[in-house]
Symmetry: C2
Subunit: 213 residues, 2 copies
Amino acid sequence: MTTDSTVLDGLDFPTSGLAVPDDVADLLFRQARTVGAFTPEEVTDEQLAAVYDLVRWGPTALNTVPLRLLVVRTPEARARLAAHMNESNRERVLAAPVSLVLAADPGFHAHLPVLAPHMAALADALEPQPEQREQMARTSALLQVGYLIVGLRAAGLDVGPMSGMDAHGIDAEFFAESGWRSLLVVNVGRRDGVGTPHPRAARLDYDQVARTV
Amino acid sequence: MTTDSTVLDGLDFPTSGLAVPDDVADLLFRQARTVGAFTPEEVTDEQLAAVYDLVRWGPTALNTVPLRLLVVRTPEARARLAAHMNESNRERVLAAPVSLVLAADPGFHAHLPVLAPHMAALADALEPQPEQREQMARTSALLQVGYLIVGLRAAGLDVGPMSGMDAHGIDAEFFAESGWRSLLVVNVGRRDGVGTPHPRAARLDYDQVARTV
């Protein structure tokens, strides 16, 4: 395992072609699995905040950072969320230690004077363009969902992302005031080791997805 | 630095709340910066393939893995790409060691019999629904762009993501046959250490982006 400061200098390339230790690559990607059943262990707000504090540094267009999180904890809130999930996902939301509704905020422009001071004028230009703001928010927030899933795993947590849901229903249920737009629901916890995980699904090879010009 | 197997067991929580070493958290997020100027050092196909091999394990809806990469290397191809970038991004594309056009493939369903054998029938159901396929492809491919940016950094590379471009122009220029839809262009290389980086832009705090119910 690589443990010296050359990791940060990007000078260290083991045979895997990576600059991080193998067990980190395993934790974040290679051994990580989508999880459906969790232990009852609690996931605290402090853990979620630590993950967010890490991944908020990931790049977004114009530094808009439009991802928002609804942390669903109480039995009442779980039931409200489960009612808008596809049937196969309902029990998972009710049983998970915590569920996150990950959403895009079309009102991100209100923060631009702080987030992108040199483009503060853009906030005014975007104000009368709600559709463009929603599109911008969705695009960058989805990048941030990618960072967040990696970040949750970097905190030793397991995730179960789900897109089988009535997004408009969730928006009406929880975001009528904020105007947030739900993208994905992610259950978070520690995987229940009971039972054998099903075999891992295949992925495409680099040669199948990349072309060089 | 944490180097033992408890990292993988998720049992190791230093004060930062993370299960990865601090220098990894720095490399992937906290010290990583969007880079505009790179050294001339080459980025090889082997490096890019190693990154893809890592991040392809990240979750996508129904395991559709719809992200595609156009690796732009030759001077001729760079010029064709630069012509569709916003003016402020043209010189960056011409100067970078390599530029990746990251795209979504609405034809992902052709791979479903391999990627999701238990849902092979879905491929036929999606065939006559190009708009739904494009929407599905964009959503999951953007998650994968998030994974890929983290993965490039995990390989010790620096990235310069750019969305200031004529996406339709790029699609017509490069993807008329494949039907891929460009999402983002990312320059990849090693940051040129010359000059002082500008101060880091602010981010929102957890309390600004999260609500609990």
